[in-house]
Symmetry: C3
Subunit: 364 residues, 3 copies
């Protein structure tokens, strides 16, 4: 929001001061300090208090906040005060003009619905008739949405699915769209795309949370090992039938799953294709918590909104402390998995299994 | 099976074609493509179809299968067709002669029973009167059996025990057979043997599954961390009393167990010698699934037979993607554990504990 | 205990021989061999038996024990015999003088109670009115107590809390005691202290066990990932509200917790501040076992006393085999966590959150 051209009037300022008194929820210490500082700056100009002693914590905090505004002009402080109050009370009328929804819902996505509010950017898979299968376009759009979310002012990012499925995984019709270079080129392109796609999840800098509303298959399951929390409806299932399709694990799951579960349980899932219920996935550590489907959305979003109020830098830095130690390893695993898969996609076993799968679907 | 000297007659071929129609189970797409190709090769010779377009998946798969036979002579194709059908319907009479059981049961083992059928090589510990304790001969025989299984045409390999025990672990009488070089030489020889033995499990290339029919002790427990799946009867227990015997962990368990369980639970088992029930071992991730003893064998073998029908290359390659990342580390851990144990075997604590154990057994 | 000045009389020696016959519990093979050897040395002098054959295990063990005493004088052997018997039967009167309690309870601690008996050194947090919050003095005293325990003759070391809490973690008043160098110097000093403190846990050479008698918070929780076993009362809870305080994980938890739990469950705790019950912490692998509070102390100490009777070298060496592989990594993680925290302590988010916390406490 570019506001440099706007100027809040004294009237706006007084309205905002009244609105602060009407706030139903305590906006927290940090916001209150900022309001204090902007008020002082708007009414008295740059900080003119003597610096408090180091033991006088409260006044020191106030002084720090005011002093941090430096030589910000009174008018700008007044405007910032008005803006800050406006952001605290979206339901109240404000004299400031906001174009409705401009930063609430991103447009330009065919396969996703991306929205941002309450500090949360939500990326929703939106091909419900295809069980949210991920086609080539959707791979690209998810990457674009993640890159935007990493830079917007949201605190956490959530992935979820529209409709009955979370996602049925890689859209197998991707295999039928053969370029002029033939199947070898197709396999190579797919491997490059997959590697870039998984890399976006490895490098995502904010807390990333999956809200698994229904069955998840393949790549939509393996990627969960790269999320910071996974909340699942009890309708959700988790299935990675790679061997049945002549394929091999991706999404860093050959590394993350034996770490998350035990190797014996990871193998049963990744190699022998066992499908887990939500409860089983939670017992194995793939899922953070399971909720009854009837209250799933309500309970999860209440929790997510609370997370989004935590100090944002602490969240990002804590995630980075944990992820930093794994990042290099995860990228190496990703590269190798994609390399092996590229070979698998050209194998008889895989071709055969995919033909078989598509034949059954089309009743050939 | 060397069949180069055999030749199937036209009659055999026709019989086989009829048998295909009588198959009760769909043999799967891969087999059907192979049958198609061999039939065409046997009746028309090398592939004479124009190559189908890349979008025509079904005909492309058929063309690939036929074309892959190259210039295979019609007689050989006919013979291969007959053999393939014969392998699909073992219960039906076939005009081809098979020496009964030649590749079903390997001979030449004193301490094991090794059989191979339905794509599964089964290595069964066979010293039931000694609770399947592993003596020096058995260490060597297990290595020999694993090496053979890695090269035979089975899809998965299973270890299990004959009788009430899975295995009571290292046969402590191994310690009493002192060579002319004295106990130092004995300890060194044992460490070399143990390292080579554990190394065979680290490097085994196919899915390796333990069917734990009863109590497991010591090395037979620690090795489970190197298996791809562990199915246990509810009669099974898991016990590693290393400290009580003045010894230290082996089988890579000092690395795999803290990874499989949490460090605090691994320590309780490996250092303080806690014995786990099958249910506890499953909750800790050491066991993949527990079955009631009454239905154990039936349920497990049904599942294993299904696993053995999955695409074999996908299984091997998926296992390798997972294991590759750990192999070097596991060999280093194995070397160090054996080195430490060599020292332990010469310590007063160990000598004393083994003397104590053998004294109690012999009521001295 | 310096006993060089003491000399046991022949009478003392005969008393001790009688006491051995009155022992209610078998002192174990190792002690019996030592008694045998000291008796022989005290009555016959250096070993004069021909060395038994390698197959004669029992006599070989006796010969080894006696021969190991070398040329120890008869008087010293007699004295050692008397001391050994005395240590076996503390309830019986002995003619040897022992200053009561000298090696049972270490003095010189303000914030801890440190005792040693039955092979167990117990380090008890002793600021019950402050919920055993760890202030600067207590950090130093715990390090001193750990260093002493690593060298004393105990077999295992236990940490526990006096009163209702195990420990409420870092005493936040540590932040208010600002040195002349200002907050930057304070943050730096705290980071150096924390790194050294955590390093003591990484390097502790004997089995280290936490007896978690009540709620645990912050650093007292994260350190548990470095213990060999964690026993908890069902009153205990486990809480790491780092983000809420604008801080980030320490105690190596950014590495140990994702390994112990799954990453998704570790994040919920370390980043989103979820408080776990004892049962949840046990299911996640952070706790080895949970006991009802009413029988907690009795059951746990019975178990610990049994652990302390295991062969001490086997325990230490087994712990080292496991820890050795992680030590370098753990020190690197510790260094980085402290480095990140030093930055956090100077951030607005952290200052603000601490001010807020202390304000609420002091009703400002």
């Amino acid at each position: 929001m570019n506001r440099t051209a706007m100027r809040a009037s004294q009237k706006d300022f007084e309205n905002s001061m009244n609105q602060v008194k009407l706030l139903k929820k305590d906006p927290g210490n940090e916001v209150k300090l900022k309001l204090y500082a902007l008020y002082k700056q708007a009414t008295e100009g740059p900080c003119n208090m003597p610096k408090p002693g180091v033991f006088d914590l409260i006044n020191k905090a106030k002084w720090d906040a005011w002093n941090a505004l430096g030589s910000l002009p009174k008018e700008a402080a007044r405007q910032n005060y008005v803006d800050l109050v406006s952001s605290l009370s979206p339901s109240l009328e404000s004299s400031s003009q906001v174009e409705p929804g401009t930063d609430r819902k991103s447009t330009g996505f065919e396969t996703l619905v991306v929205t941002s509010e309450d500090g949360i950017t939500k990326i929703m898979f939106n091909r419900p008739k295809k069980k949210n299968a991920i086609n080539t376009e959707m791979y690209h759009e998810i990457m674009r949405a993640l890159k935007a979310a990493s830079k917007d002012d949201s605190i956490i990012t959530v992935l979820t699915g529209n409709g009955d499925y979370y996602s049925s995984g890689n859209d197998l019709t991707n295999f039928t769209d053969i370029p002029p270079g033939g199947v070898e080129e197709k396999a190579k392109n797919n491997a490059v795309l997959l590697r870039e796609f998984v890399g976006c999840f490895i490098d995502f800098p904010k807390p990333l949370i999956a809200v698994v509303n229904g069955p998840a298959v393949g790549i939509s399951v393996t990627l969960l090992g790269l999320f910071d929390a996974v909340y699942a409806s009890d309708r959700a299932t988790f299935h990675t039938p790679f061997s049945h399709l002549g394929q091999s694990p991706e999404g860093c799951s050959s590394y993350t799953f034996p770490k998350i579960m035990s190797p014996a349980k990871a193998t049963e899932m990744l190699i022998f294709g066992k499908k887990l219920t939500a409860g089983e996935a939670c017992a194995q550590g793939l899922v953070t918590e399971v909720f009854p489907d009837s209250t799933f959305q309500k309970e999860v979003w209440t929790r997510l909104k609370a997370f989004a109020k935590l100090p944002p830098n602490a969240l990002r830095i804590s995630k980075e402390v944990i992820r930093k130690r794994e990042r290099e390893k995860l990228h190496a695993v990703n590269a190798e998995e994609c390399n092996v898969l590229q070979g698998r996609w050209l194998s008889d076993e895989c071709t055969n299994a995919v033909v078989n799968f598509l034949s059954r679907k089309s009743k050939l």
